[in-house]
């Protein structure tokens, strides 16, 4: 061991910072571990790496514990070797600590639930991450995302113009889809009942979920708004362990809610966002939040059970299972509400085992999706989740977390499972019975037989059973993304001759279709559509097809 004179500045600062971050709960977890090993097999990393003891929760915990013992506890200060106390001196020591805290633990809290002593390893692993972040030793992804959240105000660096543009686009899509100009996405409307905040992933990659939520709010007649600032309810402070970032981000959201005098803050389906904003945010920001905060799962459940939203569950007949986000289930107690809602909007819900607080992490938690250097390790540890999913026999896995959507998609691809990932909002939007005034526009027949499908799965099934000459595909369709449906249609040998015409109001989304390694669509139409332009294009595509044949 080096003397403190040889200790690097960062190591010195980390040790000093540890002293400032110790509270009774953390110290309890640091001193109470009896090294009984009961938590070992609760960790998905251990299950995937049974021959590597460095994945054991207690081993990982010991990496901070040894520093604590060496510098802040008795026996460790006097007889360090006796209790395996040790210090950190070099950059390498810090890198090793980083590898454990960021790369070998997703902070899923499963071990916490299995420790007889009440050691909250996930909580103090977050402390370890915070110490490392404090001295600038963290994975690049964590540093980039944290910077974006500090500087741009959201963790994906979505610019305000782009965010507002996306909302406007979704509003147009909604109005055009339902032929109802009263369908709106209000922005910064004061004195609303509900202010709706999202995960920036929605604005960037999955705007359909914003439109689905907007549809639901409009149909139930909710007095709602989305904020122009403070709209990102996710919080990278949870993953980086940086309480200052955590507090600042949470405060941005709280301040906007108060500025607009909204009664309730509703958060879209995101486990870590919900946990950060509702549970940890008030602690980090040291602020007693004066308004109600709830997940959109609770809001939707309330709409359905109170009769404000009518649903037809037979529209979601494909077998589904539910994956509990760790932050939802093991940090916020949200296990029953999503299941209750699922049973109301799906006909075939199958539980996965283990479930609820015993469920396994999607393995993309704790910010793991932003740390590409640990991807092989993450995917290896995902085996346990893949087996769990496959055992359900379900074709769709539902999760109330955007992080889990990415984590699950990744492992489904890696382990080649025949499964799709979706969220409750998409299922609710599909099952929702539209009131008369918002029935979709009838497509003009003009001599052709027109069949319509309300979502991707329906479209796929209809295409296979009816073998139409042409299929028009709206990029803003409900449920799964249109580009995925497009690829599926293209890859199905039974649909080899099918002509596809894409319709969208966002030409820049062409790439989501044309980037796919399949034959491009035969037609492409921009919105707004007129009856004439639709017919002309449809005829053109079919004529070309006729000549070719």
């Amino acid at each position: 061991m080096n003397s403190s004179l040889e200790r690097s500045w960062k190591a010195h600062k980390l040790i000093e910072r540890l002293g400032q971050k110790l509270n009774r709960q953390v110290v309890g977890s640091l001193v109470a571990c009896v090294h009984c090993g009961m938590c070992t097999e609760s960790c998905h990393y251990v299950l995937a790496n049974p021959d590597d003891p460095t994945f054991a929760p207690a081993y990982k915990g010991d990496q901070l514990r040894k520093i604590f013992k060496r510098h802040y506890d008795w026996t460790g200060s006097v007889f360090p070797w006796w209790v395996k106390a040790a210090t950190v001196d070099s950059e390498k020591d810090l890198e090793d600590l980083k590898d454990i805290a960021f790369g070998k633990c997703t902070n899923c809290r499963r071990c916490t639930f299995n420790c007889p002593m009440g050691v909250d390893l996930a909580a103090f692993n977050r402390v370890t991450r915070g110490l490392l972040t404090y001295v600038g030793v963290m994975p690049d992804g964590v540093s980039v995302v944290s910077k974006d959240q500090w500087e741009i105000g959201n963790q994906m660096g979505v610019l305000k113009e782009d965010y507002l543009d996306t909302l406007e686009w979704m509003q147009e899509e909604l109005q055009s889809e339902l032929d109802d100009p009263t369908m709106t996405i209000p922005i910064d409307k004061p004195d609303c009942e509900v202010i709706y905040t999202i995960n920036p992933r929605e604005a960037k990659y999955d705007p359909r979920s914003i439109a689905d939520a907007a549809k639901i709010f409009n149909v139930v007649g909710e007095k709602w708004t989305m904020p122009s600032e403070g709209w990102d309810m996710t919080n990278f402070g949870l993953f980086s362990g940086d309480d200052e970032l955590g507090g600042a981000v949470a405060r941005r959201v709280y301040d906007k809610v108060q500025e607009l005098r909204a009664k309730r803050l509703v958060m879209s389906e995101c486990g870590h966002g919900y946990r950060s904003t509702r549970c940890e945010g008030p602690n980090w920001a040291k602020y007693d939040v004066p308004f109600t905060m709830e997940s959109s799962v609770v809001t939707m459940l309330d709409y359905v059970t109170s009769g404000r939203l009518k649903v037809d569950k037979t529209r979601n007949s494909i077998p589904v299972t539910y994956h509990d986000s760790c932050n939802f289930a093991r940090s916020c107690g949200m296990t029953e509400e999503p299941r209750e809602l699922l049973r109301l909007v799906c006909t075939d819900f199958r539980e996965m085992y283990p479930n609820r607080a015993d469920n396994y992490c999607c393995t993309g938690g704790g910010g793991a999706m932003s740390m590409s250097e640990y991807t092989p390790r993450r995917l290896k540890s995902a085996k346990v989740k893949a087996d769990q999913l496959a055992a359900t026999g379900a074709k769709i896995v539902v999760t109330s977390c955007h992080n889990c959507v990415d984590g699950l998609n990744d492992l489904i691809r890696h382990y080649k499972l025949d499964m799709k990932v979706t969220q409750l909002v998409n299922l609710v939007a599909t099952a929702m019975i539209m009131p008369e005034k918002v029935k979709p526009v009838a497509v003009p027949a003009n001599g052709a037989t027109v069949l319509s499908a309300t979502n991707g799965d329906e479209a796929f099934a209809l295409a296979k059973s009816e073998k139409p000459h042409l299929l028009t595909l709206d990029l803003a369709m409900p449920g799964k993304s249109a580009s995925e449906v497009f690829e599926e249609l293209r890859r199905d040998p039974a649909l080899a001759g099918l002509k596809i015409c894409i319709i969208t109001g966002r030409p820049e989304l062409r790439k989501t279709i044309y980037d796919r390694a399949v034959q491009p669509p035969e037609g492409y139409l921009d919105k707004p559509l007129t009856e004439q332009s639709l017919l002309t294009n449809v005829k053109k595509v079919l004529e070309v097809a006729h000549h070719q044949s």
């Binding site: 110790l22 509270n23 009774r24 709960q25 009896v34 299995n114 040291k286 607080a357």
Partner: protein
């Protein structure tokens, strides 16, 4: 029953009192140290309705060692949980024995009491051996074990074995066993505050804070779904 010698009297009375006093002082200092760390505040609005409240969470949390079905780790490895129970009953019995011999020796004239004590202490000693084997033989256990972990377990195992042999309190063949038992007990009492054996001092606090927070968050008591169909 013979009168104890002055040496045994010292070992079973004064030595124990000093060791206990020492332990109490160190524990007090330890608790003062612990309570000087500020408790983190939980500001989030309560969740969980009536099912889960901070009070219920605290109770659930504190009782978790007596409710093995509540944790997957004990549910799946019930044999380890049984070992835990036997081992801790043995420790309690040995501590009780160190008071019974000097203050209530008459109790040990009952063969039932002695037999019961020896059974518990003997089984606990056996569990101690099994735990040592597991700690040495299991790669994961070795990786997390410090010299203190091995020594504390070995010390307790030996102490339980000596206690089992001492329980009849028979000095007709000399006081060696009793003296050994009381010296080991005194050492044990003085060593405990510096070792991992002192975990029971923290147990109520870690579990209290975890239960309070998890009760407020709707996590404790844990809600479970149906078990899988066969």
């Amino acid at each position: 029953m013979n009168e104890p010698s002055a040496h045994l009297h010292f070992a079973s009375h004064r030595l124990q009192e000093v060791a206990l006093l020492f332990m109490a002082v160190v524990y007090t200092i330890r608790l003062i140290w612990y309570f000087r760390f500020p408790a983190a505040q939980e500001r989030q609005a309560p969740t969980g309705g009536g099912w889960s409240t901070p009070d219920k969470g605290i109770l659930f949390s504190l009782l978790i060692i007596a409710t093995p079905w509540e944790m997957e780790s004990t549910r799946k490895r019930w044999f380890l949980w049984c070992q835990f129970v036997v081992f801790h009953l043995g420790v309690a019995a040995s501590i009780a024995l160190s008071f019974v011999i000097p203050y209530l020796p008459k109790l040990l004239t009952s063969t039932v009491v002695v037999g019961g004590l020896q059974l518990i202490l003997g089984l606990a000693c056996l569990v101690g051996v099994m735990r040592l084997v597991r700690r040495v033989g299991n790669m994961h256990m070795r990786a997390i074990s410090s010299p203190d972990d091995y020594f504390s377990l070995a010390l307790l195992t030996v102490w339980l074995g000596i206690a089992a042999a001492t329980a009849p309190n028979n000095v007709t063949r000399g006081e060696g066993l009793q003296l050994t038992y009381f010296y080991v007990t005194a050492f044990f009492l003085m060593y405990v505050p510096f070792s991992k054996i002192s975990h029971y001092l923290y147990y109520p606090f870690t579990r209290y804070y975890l239960g309070k927070s998890f009760g407020r968050r709707g996590l404790f008591p844990i809600r479970r779904g149906p078990e899988p169909q066969a």
